[in-house]
């Protein structure tokens, strides 16, 4: 083991930061044996260095001044775990300008400022690692970027938001409504007090941007793709999917090549029970990747949490120490001009749930509209019969274009006998 220690500075002593400190506390001898060097967590910066985080730390290394890290020439790796856009971006850029490698879990920042950050890394010949930004502790970005490097990636399908997956899993397992399960998830700390970011798919979308860069070498801003959350999914949908179609419903992040164009989208998706992704339950994450050489592979594990995420952060540090000069590809130097499909161009099967007044001729009207728009039905099912009352009709279509489907729904919702919003969910 060489005497020359690697010094690391950590900015952000919150939940994940505490997990990182704890990981070094637990496994420093193991880590040093692996990299064959001394590893020293030299400084930890946070505005609050008073509150007890419940992890052992030498108080002398705590600082409220981030300059103690950024200006220290002995620190060669900076871990950024404060989250958000600013001052995180400023700190990361400054660290790289000063020749320091960076490790971050900041998916929002990467998804928004990808080009600026990676340009800066290239210019300064430093590396930026961000395994923890997608899928928490799951070995995911490095395997995708390195182990599968011989492949043209065909598809990435990810269940990458634990909160949404927990809610959908609980609804299915315990036959409970969305609102009720969400409330419980908030009480248990699995959902934020304002859960919008998770349940409306924004978190999933940010992670999908990163997966799409690594999988397809294409940086797609969030404004350019369809993002839809799980708030419209009812217990009725979940149970019909399960009992009649043998499917579960998952919030899925999709990047896939179809007819030479890239489709990028986030939405609830019906997944057949025999597909491995349907077994990714609760707060767990799973990412299913299809490569043109390897075929399908899946990576699975805890997509969030203090220690799981810390595992990825410290894993990145070790990877950096072992290969500081390694060539790393962060996708193309400029955003490739690529054909990104508009959601309206997507062709898929659909599940529809319509709320209609139970009277003769309703189905005839609806099927007429679908037929006009070239949408053919695989199955139709009306379980309840209550003459003159509102009842649900469930339909599954054959492959149809989203454009036509949207038109059909617009027309269907104008029918007098159709009440309430029509729910439609795409099939995998």
């Amino acid at each position: 083991m060489t005497d020359n220690a690697v010094n690391i500075g950590l900015i952000g002593f919150g939940t994940i930061g505490s997990g990182v400190v704890e990981t070094f506390n637990m496994n420093l001898p193991l880590i040093e044996e692996k990299v064959k060097r001394k590893v020293n967590l030299k400084k930890v910066a946070d505005l609050d260095i008073v509150t007890d985080r419940g992890v052992e730390i030498n108080p002398d290394i705590l600082t409220t001044d981030v300059k103690d890290i950024l200006d220290d020439p002995d620190i060669s790796i900076v871990i950024e775990l404060i989250g958000g856009y600013q001052p995180a971006l400023k700190f990361i850029l400054e660290a790289m300008e000063k020749g320091k490698h960076v490790v971050t879990a900041n998916k929002a920042l990467l998804a928004k400022h990808w080009e600026e950050i990676t340009d800066c890394a290239r210019r300064n010949q430093v590396r930026i690692s961000f395994e923890a930004s997608v899928g928490g502790g799951i070995p995911l970005l490095k395997p995708l970027n390195e182990s599968l490097a011989a492949n043209n990636i065909q598809s990435v399908y990810g269940i990458i938001n634990g909160t949404a997956n927990y809610i959908l899993t609980k609804m299915a397992e315990e036959h409970r409504d969305f609102e009720e399960v969400l409330k419980e998830a908030q009480e248990k700390g699995y959902a934020e007090q304002d859960p919008t970011f998770d349940i409306e798919g924004h978190d999933t979308a940010q992670k999908l941007i990163i997966l799409t860069i690594l999988g397809f070498g294409v940086y797609v801003e969030q404004e350019r793709f369809h993002v839809e959350g799980i708030t419209r999914i009812t217990l009725e949908d979940i149970e019909f999917a399960k009992n009649e179609l043998g499917c579960c419903i998952k919030l899925l992040a999709i990047s896939t090549i179809a007819n030479g164009k890239l489709e990028v989208r986030v939405h609830p998706t019906l997944i057949p029970e025999e597909h491995l992704l349907s077994s990714v339950n609760g707060v767990f994450n799973g990412v299913y990747i299809i490569g043109d050489v390897v075929g399908p592979v899946m990576m699975y594990g805890q997509g969030a949490g203090m220690m799981a995420t810390a595992s990825a952060v410290v894993g990145d540090c070790i990877d950096l120490i072992e290969g500081m000069d390694r060539i790393v590809n962060y996708g193309p130097e400029k955003t490739k001009v690529t054909n990104i499909k508009d959601i309206e161009e997507v062709e898929t099967k659909y599940y529809l749930r319509l709320t209609v007044i139970d009277k003769p001729g309703v189905l005839h009207e609806i099927s007429g509209i679908l037929s006009d728009l070239d949408i053919s039905l695989e199955s139709v099912s009306q379980k309840k019969r209550e003459k003159g009352q509102e009842v649900p009709i469930f339909m599954v279509t054959h492959e149809a274009s989203e454009k036509n489907m949207l038109k059909a729904i617009e027309r269907i919702e104008k029918l007098d006998s159709v009440k309430d919003e029509t729910v439609f969910i795409r099939l995998l």
Copy 2:
């Protein structure tokens, strides 16, 4: 892109070798873009360079003389895909002595000659990569060794033999007997004409040796651990496990730390249906790893096959080109003196199937023996009643020691009323 090309020599133009050639044919531009260098498959050596492999290849690069590769100073990476012990070992050692990096899929060779091969790599400061040796194209060894580097690994559970898993899956899904399914698997090419190596667990054991080195830094020779195949598993066992216990039966490779000792074993195992490993079906492989920081993760995909395995081989080449000087850990320099548990020390729950003459007092005798040996029962079930005839009794025990279980079975099988061999399967 630099002009200085990386030259690769391939020894062995069989199935996987042809897959490697095909992968370069398919994706060379992508690969060269990633490594920012020209990559040149300079020579392919095989005793047979006449038979058409169905892949495009420049005939000028074919040779029957391995020296054309080993003696070529321009070749810096040698891929060994001839399999077996000799001359594969000789070629690998010679390549490394000549300063060449090596990529191999040869699990048998690595499992047997681990220390000799890795000593040689260290001495010559070259790397040896072998992602393809376990789990085919699944990103597995690199994630385990690198992405999870911050973890002390607690457990590795692997379904890593496609043939055995195909047979067990088909038995369960189609309610068919072992022999019948094996025959079909042979006809379809999923099982060898002599299937011993796969169905008796030897292949799984070799792969487990490699997983144990990378996971725990311990090299355990095959003679030192328990290896048991699937030939005793009947449809009856599979159906009882499913219907009464909610479990499936898988051939599982296990390395796990229990009470400070390492347990290494290969045997059929009852796995609860809610466990993700139970969804690893058919020829697919899955490896479930528990780290002390990250918790559980799983990697899944095709564990064999020409292209899936080639994906890992070429992925290793890219990894080598990107980081020829990278520090790589192949486990400890000397085999750690470690407490490896004897199988008799293992404590687990057991499923038992006994064949007994249906007469009063039999169960009393058996339960007396179990009780004497400190084995308590969780459940007992006798489905058929046929006075004086042979009927099966199914039992599930609480945690018991293997030592006592073996003693109990020995005594039970001596009872007059117990016929046929007693089948026992451990639970996960």
